[in-house]
């Protein structure tokens, strides 16, 4: 079984070094490693973004990394954003940011009208679902990273 600890985003973000016990632990679940990586690619580098731009996806991810208090993830997404930017003052950006915060911190407060608000600001059904997947994926990613760090003896 190959040690994929250095081949994927999650391994890198969790600081998993090749040949370590943590790498061996990860290698017990090669399908989880593989489909976590392909999910990351589908979320941040889709062939068809449905109108939700790369910058919007990464900005949402950066916002979540900050909400979740994960400095390593925040650095990762700042770097991914690079010089791209969203117009933070636009109504669209504000509604997306509000949605990202609410679904991250209080998903039970979700209402149908929140999707209507996104739709009114120009998001297609595909973009709404894509945004939902970005939010849900980063919440998954931060928690897997936290568990891997704990297993590796780091905070």
């Amino acid at each position: 079984m190959t040690d994929a600890s250095l081949d994927d985003v999650m391994g890198r973000l969790a600081g998993v070094a090749a040949g370590t016990p943590l790498a061996a632990t990860r290698a017990l679940r090669p399908d989880v490693v593989r489909f976590t990586q392909t999910s990351d690619e589908a979320i941040f580098r889709p062939a068809n973004d449905g109108g939700l731009s790369h910058a919007e996806r990464v900005q949402a991810a950066l916002q979540m990394a900050l909400l979740l208090g994960d400095d390593v993830l925040a650095t990762h997404y700042r770097s991914m954003l690079g010089s791209a930017a969203v117009d933070a003052g636009s109504e669209r950006a504000k509604r997306i940011a509000a949605h990202v915060e609410r679904v991250t911190l209080d998903p039970g407060a979700s209402q149908k009208a929140h999707l209507g608000a996104l739709s009114e600001t120009g998001l297609s059904p595909q973009a709404i679902v894509a945004l939902s997947q970005v939010i849900a994926y980063v919440n998954f990613q931060a928690r897997v990273r936290a568990g891997l760090r704990a297993l590796g003896g780091r905070s």
């Binding site: 016990p21 943590l22 632990t25 990860r26 017990l28 679940r29 399908d31 989880v32 489909f35 976590t36 392909t38 999910s39 690619e41 589908a42 979320i43 889709p46 062939a47 068809n48 449905g50 979740l68 208090g69 994960d70 949605h99 679904v103 991250t104 998903p107 039970g108 979700s110 149908k112 929140h114 999707l115 059904p125 595909q126 709404i128 679902v129 894509a130 939902s132 997947q133 939010i135 849900a136 994926y137 919440n139 998954f140 990613q141 931060a142 928690r143 897997v144 990273r145 936290a146 568990g147 891997l148 760090r149 704990a150 297993l151 003896g153 780091r154 905070s155």
Partner: protein
Amino acid sequence: MSKPMRDFTKGELEWTPWITPVDLDSASAEQRDALKITPSNRAVGAYALVLAHDPESVRERSPLYNAVMFGPRGLPRADRELGAVVASRINGCAYCASVHAKRFVELAKEPDLMQRLYADGVGAKLDDARRAAIVAYAAKLTETPSAIGPADADALRAHGLSDGDILDLTHAVAMFAWANRLMQSLGASS
């Protein structure tokens, strides 16, 4: 959330989407492929058809979900389902909690534990110390992942969980951080 959740044993909950699902008959080849729909397998629910609006993400998420929750060996499936229920209870996803509570009871044959969790929340006093440690880890990972550290892994090791088991539990709980948010933000449980 500490108020009791609706009794999962009493009937099936339903999930009603807030956006129109993809119509199966007019789905694109990419959408059908992403959901693994074939002429002989068209039994796809509303949830999958909503996710099909963005086929690339659902294509990768489905096998990831299966690997996390059904991957052979490792942490017993009952414990993965328990992690899922804890996450769903905290996030307030009644639909997810009910489905996975039923799965836990089918697998573990411990309805009392699940009733206690439902009635008293994730701080419920459980007689089984190993299950209690799993619940505590799942709750902390769900609520404050940034506060998770080596001591949390050690607490599970003290109850006999291997590092692989702890990673399996982490994946299951994190997967429900994902699943709950999709269900809760794209539709309503009733």
